[in-house]
Symmetry: D2
Amino acid sequence: MANMPRSKGYRIIAEFSIHPIGKGTGVSSYVRTALAELRKAKGLRLRVTPMATVIEAERLSDILTAVEAAHESLFRQGAKRVDFFLRVDDRRDKARRMEDKVRAVQR
Amino acid sequence: MANMPRSKGYRIIAEFSIHPIGKGTGVSSYVRTALAELRKAKGLRLRVTPMATVIEAERLSDILTAVEAAHESLFRQGAKRVDFFLRVDDRRDKARRMEDKVRAVQR
Amino acid sequence: MANMPRSKGYRIIAEFSIHPIGKGTGVSSYVRTALAELRKAKGLRLRVTPMATVIEAERLSDILTAVEAAHESLFRQGAKRVDFFLRVDDRRDKARRMEDKVRAVQR
Amino acid sequence: MANMPRSKGYRIIAEFSIHPIGKGTGVSSYVRTALAELRKAKGLRLRVTPMATVIEAERLSDILTAVEAAHESLFRQGAKRVDFFLRVDDRRDKARRMEDKVRAVQR
């Protein structure tokens, strides 16, 4: 699916969190697998936080493709049930990067 | 990206919520637009709840394609900033439909 | 903390989803326990959906008290790790019930 | 509302995001107000990310009290509709801080 070309400088900022259900209380080996898929994806900037991974991209389709790859990778690692959540913030009246959002609320 | 063919009967169950920011406190005309996009999409069963739309599908890619179309439709309607959230529950050790999840917790 | 008395007819609408991590792929017995706590709570209307429980209340504090009780109940049932998510929509310029939100987007 | 005393070293890690609907596309002055409330609260460690604020606490009730205060503060600032989301991760089989979660997935 094609995304419209975005105006220069506009970025989508999202956050993504994923874990298997039924693979014990420690899930970090699965999260590492998901992160490896995100890092392989094109066009993404990533920042890992204690609760999610923040993703910045010019195109929503790049984020969704990476999320789908990350999701599938957990089943290859042996998970039988996987839950993820994705929150997307797309603002087209103002160019900004992920750092700008943090700066704006800490002034 | 291609999704592997899913075993017969296995369904992904998700929920999706979207709204514009900066278009007044009432956002239902935008939510209707997003819902119209979801209804046009192939392979989805939908149920509208007071806080989100529940989506059932055989393929995650069908859900993501529909979500992307819904997202883009709000900008065409005039929104300058759009936020959405998507939660996905994919269980591959047991066939179930969205109704089964409700039944299981109300027994 | 005390919540201000709300104007007559104004309701907060929320959704809540909870599950243990590390207790197998099937978690419905835990969700039933959480729901039992929500049903014991005062001042809540509930509707179970395939992905969450929608909660309507006059006071946010009633929702938070019930969520805390539900959360604690999963540990009593044996969970070692519990994740929940809560989304709250509080609109004070228009009286509405949970059914109104569904109706508004299906017109 | 009483929370059981937690074992030494165990921390709840959460993330919280809030914004007004209907106050323009730029909402950072409202997010700053919410953050000021979180900073006044007792017993919380905070880290602002581009999509949310990560909160660490010994007691869930401290997080919920702070979230309720943050929520109410946006109405005092003039918002007529406020949405927030809160995700909580409570693990009681292993002591950890928010930094440990990031470290574990970046090894």
